[in-house]
Symmetry: C2
Subunit: 189 residues, 2 copies
DNA sequence: CTCTTCATGTGACGTTGTCATACGAACCAA
DNA sequence: TTGGTTCGTATGACAACGTCACATGAAGAG
């Protein structure tokens, strides 16, 4: 019924899911290898059969999170009835929504892939390429898509990051993150 | 010569400096209470005479880093011969320079002040007020300074953050962080 | 000079990441 | 079926860490 490799793959998936859930629920400090193993139904040492160390497990969580974003972007791209400007707006809003719903996972996604984490790097690169394609449809010049896309992506990330860190308060700046996103699109795109 | 309170204040300063140095040199993992105490010339338990826990020590490091940025902004503001636009440009470039020269400290400055860290919150608030004052001199409408300043600050932070995380590569986006900063000023301010 | 205060030093405890080792079930060859 | 191999998993152990309880010793007050 379940072969050995299937069981191992399922365990690996369960470990990544458990780590992601613990991260969402309790923040980075809650992601303990012992807790991850317990939630995945295995022991504390089991992760070492799938990941060299904790950092690689977290990289797998980041890769999974990026893949989910990429899948949503794929849906946006596949919907040919959508005007390019709407696609761009929804792609930005979608990423912002992830930053608000899963702030810890979002921070992990934008953290530095310090060592060699091919899966995470590939997932990030794919999503960036998708976003660049969406931007390229709005601004007709392909050579302008790169810089404009970078400005949009970095600015959006700054808005979400400062919002999540509590440094973007409406009392101080007289503006909300949503309004900043609208300003960004109006002035940049 | 050295009273007891002076010695205690010096020790506290030495602890914060040691933590900042260790953070700059070896990243967050290098900031151990034992290592901080050793570099400050005291034992591993000494920090608990000045800070309730490690988080408060790191908050003091963040506060000190923000104060240094604020002092540089004060110099910019005091130089009345500087055109407002140049002041704004230099304030943004100065913060970007900190993000590049001290990436770990920069990340700590923009991390969430999770609990009550009055010193850190005050230092952040002061710097934001200074930046808002600089922006207000460029855009004459005081009610526009808030949103515009927020857009500039968040976007700059996004550029620096993605640059430091290695996700803003010129190969992918066909643009550098410096060019993005110039685009930002040209299109926003 | 005595007593108090308080920063500091030290031992100890629980937790964590990680490694070495042992176990056991799934696979393969006969 | 039978025997041996592979490999994911479980467990014991260790060093390092944050933190606490307690001891120490010198500075300041009377």
């Amino acid at each position: 019924m379940v072969s050995r490799v299937e069981s191992a793959a399922a365990t690996r998936r369960a470990l990544v899911d458990a780590a992601a859930d613990l991260l969402d629920e309790g923040g980075p400090d809650a992601v303990t290898l012992r807790a991850v193993g317990a939630r995945a139904g295995v022991s504390r040492g089991a992760p070492y059969g799938h990941f060299p160390d904790k950092e690689h497990l977290l990289a797998a969580v980041a890769a999974k999170s990026w893949q989910e974003v990429g899948d949503r972007l794929d849906e946006l791209i596949a919907d040919r009835a959508l005007p390019p400007a709407v696609r761009l707006e929804r792609s930005l809003a979608g990423l912002m929504e992830v930053g608000r719903r899963r702030p810890h996972a979002y921070a992990l996604m934008f953290a530095a892939p310090t060592e060699e984490h091919p899966d995470a790097i590939a997932a990030v690169s794919r999503t960036h390429d998708q976003f660049l394609a969406i931007v390229a449809e709005v601004v007709k010049g392909p050579d302008r898509a790169g810089p404009l896309g970078a400005l949009l992506m970095t600015s959006l990330h700054g808005i979400v990051a400062m919002e999540n860190s509590g440094q973007l308060t409406p009392e101080k700046w007289h503006v909300t993150g949503d309004e900043l996103l609208r300003m960004l699109i109006a002035r940049i795109a």
